[in-house]
Amino acid sequence: MTTFAELLLNGVSLGSVYALIALGFVVIFKATEVVNFAHASLLLAGGYVTAVLHDDIGFWPALLAGVAGAALVGAAVEFLVMRRYRGRDHSVLAIVTIGVDILLVTELTRRIGTNVLAVGDPWGDAVLTIGSVTIAETRVAALIAAGLLITAFLLVFRHTSWGVAMRAAAESAETAALMGVRLGRVSLGAWAVAGGLAAVAALFLTVFPTPGLERSTSLAAMKAFPAAILGGLDSTTGALVGGLTVGVTESLATGYQSDLTFLGRGLGDLAPYLVMIVILLVRPAGLFGTKELARV
């Protein structure tokens, strides 16, 4: 029982990190309907800046710098690459992001080299013990951060025109322009925000229980795909719910793999995709996504 509780808690906390990554996908998709494969590299960028700076300027400033840095990279990608694309096909832009990802990841991994970089976070490997279950403080922090950020975004989207502008721009650039939406600025903003989010996510991906930032850290972004999808690619709430679902699924599948051997071992990162498929079969646009409409 406590095992279950512990796995569940662990899953939730892990899920909150995925939620942060997924939120990055969501923001960009909302604004541009592009599935951003370069998100992994944004993660790496944010983490890298934080990691190299924390020694000199302290953790919190370094984190800010990381957020700013990743936001800058994101903005640069939008400004230098995405904006240049004249076509209207979003899935083509997805391929561009793959190219961008190759470039950025190669550069960053070259800089990181064989090192494992610590980010010098204040939590260290401290754990909270609730009853008989323990949870790393870093993960509590992650949970809180995810909660706060996502609520913040919900509010922003509800109470400012930014969300409307984003969705308008995504649905029809021309008509959005006719409404006075500054297309460039909207997608630039989205990319910058996604970058910042990535940096925060990167922080929680590199602190305890993982040893630190190194070249393969970015692979975690893959896990946010099912999260973003099963929540609904254009839904902030979806990102949270999806992230948690994936986290819990993964944690349980791992923790009980000895009891699931008939499925073969190492279900950890397969399980989320299976759950995703099942959910998509019931709700083709994810749990909170906007449905495709059939009207002529």
């Binding site: 021309e174 322009a177 939406v181």
Partner: protein, 270 residues
């Protein structure tokens, strides 16, 4: 909210190889309603796209001439700047944001408006009393509205920006007579409050009644222009745009069918 004077001079525009407009000059005096008549492919929508700087979205471009609003050039700016200058447009074929709710469509319409929140609230109220259905369906996805309801939404959306110059591309498209008439009244009302209007409308009768001045555009060139009343009187306009014909509908139709190659039946020999 005053109006603005639009001046289009020697406008040349086209889509890659296709030339759509040649040396078109049009004036919309401050506070006037001006209408542009023209058949399919005459270039009316192209004209409006050129003014609102959205040709590029159709692979087209403005290759000559100038467009000025109150003497300040509009060309060479982004579409958003044109809106910021107080121009808002009802695009051809509605173009509502299908996946957004009616409510959000209207909010989107207000994005370009500079006025205070209260102004927007007022605008919303006006749109709602104009088109009650939009209030009833506030939370419905716009794409699910009926054609005419979408048209109402498109018009309402444009009004949300409380523009100084309103560009209308066939606002009565797909509207029932009653509703078309109401649109007419609305245009008159807005204009009454000072907004200048450039109206592209196939319902020429309606258009000519609203407009003070009218232009006739044919295959990319202005062929006729003058006070609306005069044009309304000219045979050309009466026949082509007001559809006034001497013969009775019946033998007119028969004449037309005779004129048309009769479509032979398709006998399925397989």
């Amino acid at each position: 909210m005053g109006g603005a004077a639009l001046a289009v001079r020697d406008l040349v525009a086209g889509y890659g190889p296709v030339s759509a407009l040649r040396d078109v000059s049009i004036d919309v005096p401050d506070g006037a309603v001006v209408t542009v008549l023209g058949g399919n492919g005459a270039g009316k929508s192209t004209l409006l796209r050129a003014i609102s700087r959205t040709l590029s979205f159709h692979g087209g471009a403005m290759t000559g001439g100038s467009v000025t609003l109150d003497g300040r050039p509009l060309d060479g700016r982004g579409a958003d700047r044109v809106v910021a200058a107080g121009v808002s447009q009802v695009p051809e074929g509605r173009q509502v944001f299908a996946r957004m709710t009616v409510e959000d469509n209207l909010r989107a319409g207000a994005l370009g408006a500079r006025g205070p929140r209260t102004a927007k609230a007022a605008a919303l109220r006006r749109v709602h009393e104009l088109f009650p259905v939009l209030a009833e369906r506030a939370r419905q996805q716009a794409g699910l509205l009926s054609g005419g309801e979408q048209q109402m939404l498109a018009v309402g959306r444009a009004l949300m920006a409380s523009p100084r110059l309103l560009l209308l591309d066939e606002p009565s498209l797909g509207l029932a007579p009653l509703m078309a008439a109401r649109i007419g009244d609305t245009i008159r009302e807005i204009n009454g409050q000072g907004t200048s209007v450039l109206l592209v409308e196939q319902n020429a009768a309606l258009a000519l009644r609203l407009a003070t001045h009218a232009y006739v555009l044919e295959v990319g060139e202005v062929t006729l222009s003058g006070p609306a009343a005069e044009l309304a009187a000219s045979d050309e306009v009466r026949r082509r745009y007001l559809g006034v014909v001497d013969e009775t509908a019946a033998d007119d139709a028969s004449r037309a069918t005779a004129a048309h190659p009769v479509l032979s039946r398709w006998e399925d020999s397989r």
